[in-house]
């Protein structure tokens, strides 16, 4: 029993795709450009060469926000999407009917179709692999060259993530929607 979340020191991100590759190798994600649990959003460059806005081309590492009030869970007609004991939003492939309500409901565009299991899949913090083996980090955190991510238990006040969130300023995405994401972007 834990309440897992992730803090992202997103300014470190160099958009190298190590996280995406590690995720695919660890979790057996299908290949194909639209098949990924995590990604880096890239802002389109603004201005005309050579007068470009250096801040416009920022890199924003992203993945399922692991909402406490997950719209995808709310709309799922078969309860395929559910919260597990660790507060992680998961998908039961046996119950998923590919209705894609969750894909439309998710404000973060975090869900995609796995053609093999015929499931609308998503990041589950490596629950089927690393966490199942008792490991305490996700594949994306471990592999990251510039150490963007810190994964951990939000309910444990002494966990690294809890300490980070107490000591660093941070924000979450689209909080006005009331989704209560458990991904925190450190500023």
């Amino acid at each position: 029993m834990a309440n897992y979340g992730m803090a992202l020191d997103y300014k470190n991100c160099i958009n190298c795709s190590a996280c995406e590759t590690a995720c695919k190798e660890e979790n057996g994600i299908l290949m194909g450009a639209d098949k990924h649990r995590i990604w880096v959003g890239v802002g389109e460059i603004e201005g005309q060469y050579p007068l470009l806005d250096i801040t416009s081309n920022a890199f924003h590492p992203s993945q399922c926000q692991q909402c406490e009030n997950a719209p995808c869970e709310e709309v799922c007609p078969t309860h395929a999407t559910y919260y597990d004991d660790n507060g992680i939003v998961r998908v039961d492939p046996d119950k998923c009917i590919l209705c894609s309500y969750c894909m439309n409901a998710c404000p973060y565009d975090a869900r995609y179709v796995d053609d093999r299991t015929m499931t609308v899949d998503k990041c589950n913090f490596c629950s089927d692999t690393r966490l199942a083996r008792g490991e305490t980090t996700t594949a994306c955190q471990t592999t990251c060259p510039t150490k963007v991510r810190t994964f951990g238990d939000l309910d444990d006040p002494e966990s690294e993530i809890s300490i980070l969130l107490r000591t660093r300023e941070h924000y979450s995405l689209k909080t006005h929607l009331g989704t209560k994401p458990k991904l925190f972007y450190l500023t």
Binding site: D9, N12, I14, N15, C16, S17, A18, E20, T21, A22, K24, E25, E26, N27, G28, L30, M31, G32, A33, D34, W39, V40, G41, V42, G43, I45, G47, Q48, Y49, P50, L52, I54, N57, A58, F59, H60, S62, Y108, D109, A110, Y112, D128, T129, R130, A132, R133, T136, A139, Q141, T142, T143, C144, P145, T146, K147, T150, F151, E160, Y171, Y185
Partner: protein
């Protein structure tokens, strides 16, 4: 704050495209059951790791040159995941996209599996599978299609230099080089002249070493012509980008393109390609005229300071002079010079590590090294550092002297251009000049016949400018033996193909890594070699066992020294000095244990953890899940020479008088010929690297191709619009030497008179399912211009045309 998180935006960026069914399985090299999987989805089988704990093997990555430490997870004999090994100070607990995708190199259905010999025409790629012994036999005695070593050496009267040896970068290059030395040829070519020769040598002759940069502590970093966010170098990439954007290290990115490094910098200044030297000279001018330099360092450690100062001042290298040349505003140059001085010695003009772009690159590196030194930022925390290195034991090789072996097929500058063996650079370095050697060879300007070549882990067809000329060279070679893991474009021209196992299937020579935090690390074998592949050391053991005695018999006929020696010492003792098998008698594991035998427990620790350094058990600590301490602060090798340069004189060499005789400027000066010019209607072609592929070596990697399906040519958005070129339109890029086709990426990240695409794509080997004709090949277009000092290939001096097709 508005944050871009859209999946669709990502898609547009990487250009979604189906990779299934786009290419036909015409691969003669794969066996039947692999073929069947090629058209289907089976090739994408990418299963998740198991739920149980598994065996972990500590190894080193070989997906690029960095050699990062990895822990391979092995389940039921298969590698299911590569994770970073946190114990290695160089790679600091990370594995990039390529490192993760390394698994695909083992399970790539296209990989070379069996020894093969050519049965079709040269370059046609038609081979037949043979046994190892048959392959060795063909190398010795040839077939009806090609001559063997025996015939070549008999006809060339034991001139061992009639065989060329070439190798790519890698830990086992050392092993292959021992074969070259024992064989007795003097023709050796490696990657340096198409890689970092001019930067390494420029720093080498100026401050005595090619230094590392302490980006962990630098407060001010000028990164010019280096792209560490995409061309990853460990630990520099990890150190730099945790502290940019107002977080402790101010990063100034100087690049003609808006790269990912530019996006992560505090300031990006677009520079005209090939004009960095003018920028550095102007920085130097400000430093000298405003007395911003470290006077005590200059007094103690400079040779020729006054002469250089006079040169810079009398030539009037002012920021105002540099502005029109570089395209960088004078006020920016003043500001950077002053800011650099304010932060010195914790300020770094980053040396970089890349191939030569412009003909003035050697002088640029000298100017950079002198500029850095003026501020005393040498061998000091936060500046450029020499670091320390842990010694390991060498093992004995074999370097016999053959009387009839001729010197390198290049003669000194006394020979005029156009004569046999002419030289077209000032200094002949160990790795040689690849393109000048190749060009002499196809022009029939060798001083003697070179008839064959051994090529290890090297892809001349893809790796150097003017692919057509390389093809001509390979066709002309009568005996081409390639040792490789993949059926590369070069392998297609082979007569004999010897399949090496991948890096995860072999143990390589243990290596010592110098730096602020020195360590020794080893690539341990993770799984047994698949198919009939072998590590290079075993390949060479088998080959030398086959050829050593017969070749000695040829030497006996022609070599009077050997004849005399046999007469006085007997044949057995004489042969002992020419026995080619000697360097390969021990296993790599035995050699590695011997190499570290002076450190108690090191061999066992390297087997287990992959990394060793003295006191590691005390020093190494996990500070958090992400951060580790390798050495306590007071044990780090920031300063090892008291700030003194490592040149023989112990001084920074501003003036190299001896170079003048060779027609090379003794000091960095600007010449009008260096100015950036592009004829109207043409574009300067830029090439470079990125974080998902390593040159052509990873072009067939299914996982990496998933991240970036093909290369695109960057063209300025406004120019593209004028030309009616839209995103993903196919365009043809052509130069005086050739053309290539690829898709267009209109963007404002590049200047209107330049185009760019990454290197490594557009291969022609049909045996590579995913790399075959995928994207554009830069070397089909880049002209073979030769840098004057070391004969390096200059990659950014080609004007091209672009047209929509």
């Amino acid at each position: 704050m508005e944050v871009a998180i859209s999946r669709r935006k990502f898609l547009q960026g990487t250009v979604a495209m189906s990779v299934i069914g786009a290419t036909v399985a015409t691969n003669l090299l794969s066996d039947e059951h692999d073929k069947s999987s090629k058209n289907g989805k089976n090739i994408f089988k990418n299963s998740q790791t198991g739920s149980q704990r598994a065996q972990e093997v500590a190894t080193l990555c070989e997906m690029c040159v960095n050699k990062c430490a990895a822990l391979a997870r092995v389940e039921s004999g298969a590698i299911t995941k590569l994770n970073p090994n946190p114990k290695f100070p160089k790679s600091k607990n990370m594995l990039c996209a390529r490192g993760n995708a390394g698994i695909q190199s083992v399970y790539d259905p296209d990989r070379l599996k069996y020894p093969m010999i050519r049965i079709g025409e040269k370059g046609e790629g038609k081979f037949k599978r043979v046994t190892w012994d048959e392959a060795y036999e063909a190398i010795l005695n040839g077939t009806d299609k090609f001559p063997g070593l025996s015939k070549i050496l008999k006809e060339e009267e034991d001139n061992r230099s009639s065989m060329l040896f070439c190798a790519g970068e890698g830990m086992a290059e050392h092993t292959f080089k021992q074969f070259y030395q024992a064989f007795g040829s003097s023709n050796w070519l490696n990657h340096s002249s198409i890689c970092l020769q001019t930067v390494a040598s420029g720093y080498g002759v100026t401050i005595g070493a090619y230094p590392q940069a302490d980006l962990d502590n630098a407060e001010y970093i000028i990164m010019a012509g280096a792209n560490r966010a995409e061309a990853i170098v460990t630990p520099d990439t990890m150190d730099a980008f945790k502290r940019t954007k107002g977080r402790g290290a101010k990063l100034i990115c100087i690049d003609p393109r808006f790269t990912n490094t530019a996006a992560k910098a505090d300031k990006w200044l677009a520079i005209k390609p090939g004009t960095d030297l003018a920028f550095v000279l102007a920085l130097t001018y400000v430093t000298l005229t405003e007395n911003l330099f470290n006077t005590s360092y200059v007094e103690q450690y400079f040779n020729g300071f006054e002469e250089y100062k006079n040169s810079v001042l009398s030539n009037n290298y002012t920021p105002e002079w540099a502005e029109p040349i570089t395209g960088i505003k004078a006020k920016e140059i003043y500001a950077i010079a002053r800011e650099f001085a304010a932060h010195a010695p914790k300020a770094v003009y980053y040396p970089g590590r890349r191939s030569t772009f412009a003909s003035n690159d050697f002088q640029l590196r000298r100017a950079m090294a002198i500029f850095q030194s003026l501020h005393g930022g040498i061998d000091v925390k936060g500046g450029l550092i020499f670091g320390s290195k842990l010694p390991i034991k060498e093992h004995e090789g074999l370097a016999p002297l053959y009387e009839k072996a001729q010197a390198r097929a290049i003669t000194k500058s006394t020979v005029k251009k156009g004569d046999a063996g002419y030289d077209d650079c000032a200094v002949v370095s160990d790795g040689g000049s690849w393109i000048s050697w190749r060009n002499r060879y196809i022009e029939d300007k060798m001083p003697y016949k070179v008839r064959g070549m051994f090529c290890y882990k090297h892809n001349p067809m893809m790796n150097m400018p003017n692919t057509a000329k390389t093809a001509q060279m390979l066709k002309k070679m009568e005996l081409v033996v390639t040792i490789d893991t993949m059926p590369s474009d070069t392998v297609m021209y082979a007569d004999v193909v010897l399949p090496e196992c991948t890096y995860l299937e072999r143990t390589d020579p243990v290596t010592t890594f110098g730096g602020v935090e020195p360590s020794i690390a080893v690539r341990n074998k993770v799984i047994e070699p698949m198919y009939e592949t072998k590590p290079v050391i075993e390949i060479l053991k088998g080959l030398t066992t086959k050829i050593s005695k017969p070749l000695f018999e040829i030497s006996k006929q022609f070599d009077s020294d050997i004849q005399d020696s046999i007469e006085s010492d007997g044949e057995e003792d004489t042969y002992a000095e020419f026995n080619l098998t000697l360097p390969f008698l021990h296993t790599q594991e035995e050699l590695n244990h011997h190499a570290v035998s002076m450190y108690i427990g090191a061999a066992e620790q390297l087997d287990r953890d992959g990394v060793f350094y003295p006191n590691m058990d005390v020093y190494y600590k996990a500070l958090s899940v992400n951060e580790h301490q390798y050495y306590p602060e007071n044990k780090k090798s920031y300063t090892v020479n008291g700030g003194k340069p490592k040149t023989p004189s112990g001084k920074v060499e501003c003036v190299l008088a001896s170079f003048t005789q060779k027609g090379i400027d003794s000091m960095p000066v600007w010449k009008d010929a260096y100015e950036f010019k592009v004829p109207a209607g043409k574009f300067k072609l830029l090439t470079g690297r990125h974080a998902q592929f390593t040159q052509s070596g990873t072009a067939n990697n299914a996982m990496l191709r998933d991240l970036m399906p093909e290369n695109f040519v960057w063209i300025n958005k406004r120019i593209a619009q004028e030309k009616g070129i839209k995103f993903a339109d196919i365009v043809e890029i052509s130069s005086s030497i050739g053309k290539t086709r690829l898709k267009a990426y209109p963007t404002e990240k590049i200047a209107p008179d330049q185009v760019f695409f990454v290197h490594g794509f557009g291969g022609e080997s049909e045996a590579l399912t995913w790399a075959y004709k995928n994207g554009g090949n830069d070397n089909a277009v880049i002209e073979d211009h030769i840098e004057p000092v070391y004969g390096a290939a200059t990659m950014h001096e080609t004007n091209v045309e672009i047209r929509k097709v």
